[in-house]
């Protein structure tokens, strides 16, 4: 009995020795900050006194933050951004992947080329697009040549800034999403296509009745991850527009950064962070629900 107990303790010790280092790191850099973040969001803080200056305040930060015009704007902008970004990205990458899977010469090279923007760091991306969109830059020059008299100044135009950001994000993520779709399409059995071809289906019917239903799992996954990622956009905004002009391109994470590090309102920033977490949890929860439902019907 004693010997068994000893062996048990030994195996526990060994197990925790292996996961220990990582576990401590995860606790320090993920779990504790998360709890801390929540604590800050429900407190009133006298920064001059350091950690001791934290006093419980309740949930009023969550109500007061709505008075901030920038927060409301970032929530609305982020939703507009998410919907347009995800819709364009999914449709475009689906089409590209489909054509690429069916008939294209130099498939390998195409994949590499599409993938390049995805691995470039965000600062270099911002630098090159700022140059391309600058007043003397190639894009405005080209538009003037094509006869557009007063081309919009895209990034610094109140109405064009957000759509421009959407397009840059689509450009950046296209290759990655195409490869995800492709890896799903490769797994669709060829004889399914042949079967509907015998029934006289044209290309659009093939896509409608074979490709789309067979890819529902992959598509669903891509939609969910794209939505989640679209709520994390930060670098591009901070580097290219600073949320402007006006509040036209501010987004949730950018506003958290702005509130915390430019205005020093850590409580509001934390409360906004918790709202972001709630949004992401909600989307993940929907994902689980739908996945479960699908498994049940299969």
């Amino acid at each position: 009995m004693n010997k068994r107990k000893y062996k048990n303790i030994k195996s526990i010790a060994k197990g925790y020795a292996f996961i220990g280092i990582n576990l401590i790191g995860v606790l320090i850099f993920w779990t504790i900050p998360l709890i801390f973040s929540f604590v800050i969001s429900i407190s009133k803080w006298d920064y001059s006194k350091g950690i001791k200056g934290i006093a419980f305040k309740g949930f009023s930060n969550y109500i007061e933050m709505w008075k901030d015009e920038w927060f409301r704007a970032s929530l609305i902008n982020n939703i507009i951004f998410t919907v347009s970004f995800v819709a364009i990205l999914i449709v475009l990458s689906f089409i590209v992947a489909y054509v690429l899977n069916e008939h294209v010469i130099g498939k390998k090279f195409v994949q590499l080329g599409l993938y390049v923007p995805y691995i470039v760091n965000i600062v270099a991306i911002s630098a090159v697009w700022l140059a391309l969109f600058s007043t003397n830059g190639p894009i405005l020059n080209l538009l003037r040549k094509l006869g557009v008299e007063n081309p919009p100044v895209f990034i610094s135009d109140l109405h064009w800034a957000l759509p421009t950001i959407v397009l840059i994000c689509v450009w950046q993520n296209l290759g990655y999403t195409v490869i995800l779709f492709l890896s799903g399409m490769i797994n669709i059995p060829r004889d399914l296509y042949e079967a509907v071809a015998i029934d006289g289906a044209n290309t659009f019917q093939k896509i409608r009745y074979v490709t789309i239903p067979m890819l529902s799992g992959t598509t669903f996954f891509i939609v969910i991850t794209s939505i989640i990622n679209s709520f994390k956009v930060f670098g591009l905004i901070n580097l290219m527009t600073h949320g402007g002009p006006g509040t036209s391109t501010t987004m949730l994470v950018y506003n958290i950064y702005r509130t915390a590090f430019q205005y020093g309102k850590l409580e509001f920033a934390s409360a906004q962070g918790i709202v972001l977490l709630a949004i992401i949890f909600f989307i993940t929860w929907i994902q689980f629900r739908i996945q479960k439902k699908n498994e049940a019907t299969c």
């Binding site: 197990g15 900050p33 130099g106 390049v116 760091n121 140059a131 950064y257 993940t284």
Partner: protein, 276 residues
Amino acid sequence: MKKNHKIGKIIGTVCIWGIVILCIIPIVWMISASFKREADVFAVPFRLIPDYLNLDNFKEVWFGKYNYALMFLNSIKVTALSVVFAVVTSILAGYGFSKLKFPGRDKIFLLYLATMMIPPQLLMVPKFLMFKEMGIYNTHWALILPAAFSIYGVFMVRQYMLQIPEELSEAARIDGAGDLRICFQIIAPLCKPALVTLVILFFTWSWNDYDNALIFINDKNLYTINLGLVNFMDETGLKYSLIMAASVISILPIFIIFLVAQKYFIGGLTAGSVKG
């Protein structure tokens, strides 16, 4: 029918190649501009290869007064240490979660899975305050330590190790090998594809990390390449030829790895998702 198919193939190829060219134009433009004189950058008509081709921009960026070389080296240091630590802790914990049995193991793993959902930017504020208390704010450790404990890495190593038959560890154990030895000399070498992928992923994340560096690094001598590039843009104003040369330098390491190990690169970045 056959002829139809051929025409389809040609149209498809042309369209897709058009999209690819649109996609890489900004990058090609960046590289082209980095070799030009400032006056030629926006010159019309556009020339891919300028008449006056030169390396002056690169010389000025690298050896000039901007300390860009130092920031490049800072990034190398931060990235190398992050990758090494993250791979080692991922192997250890992955082994613990897949090959060892102990109470609480599965509950802790569930905690890991839940933690993966947390958007890292949500933790900007608390980490900023904690790092100040811990004394690692404005040091490279503020970038290395959080990267050294990767949840995703543990997850990936665990999944891979679960596929390795238990008999291998059993045989080694009978021969008298301890778990540490089994882990690093027998199991880990069998996980090579997963580990190569992880190295590439960790490298890309650390090298391209802008958010953390922005918040946790303040001292110009400690800037990593991304902050260096921003700083460079601020200091040179609108000298696009120099900015593009600096950008090219900043993407070079990733591009080299991408070209050498594209199979692992693309496989790795899509690995987590295909299973989902």
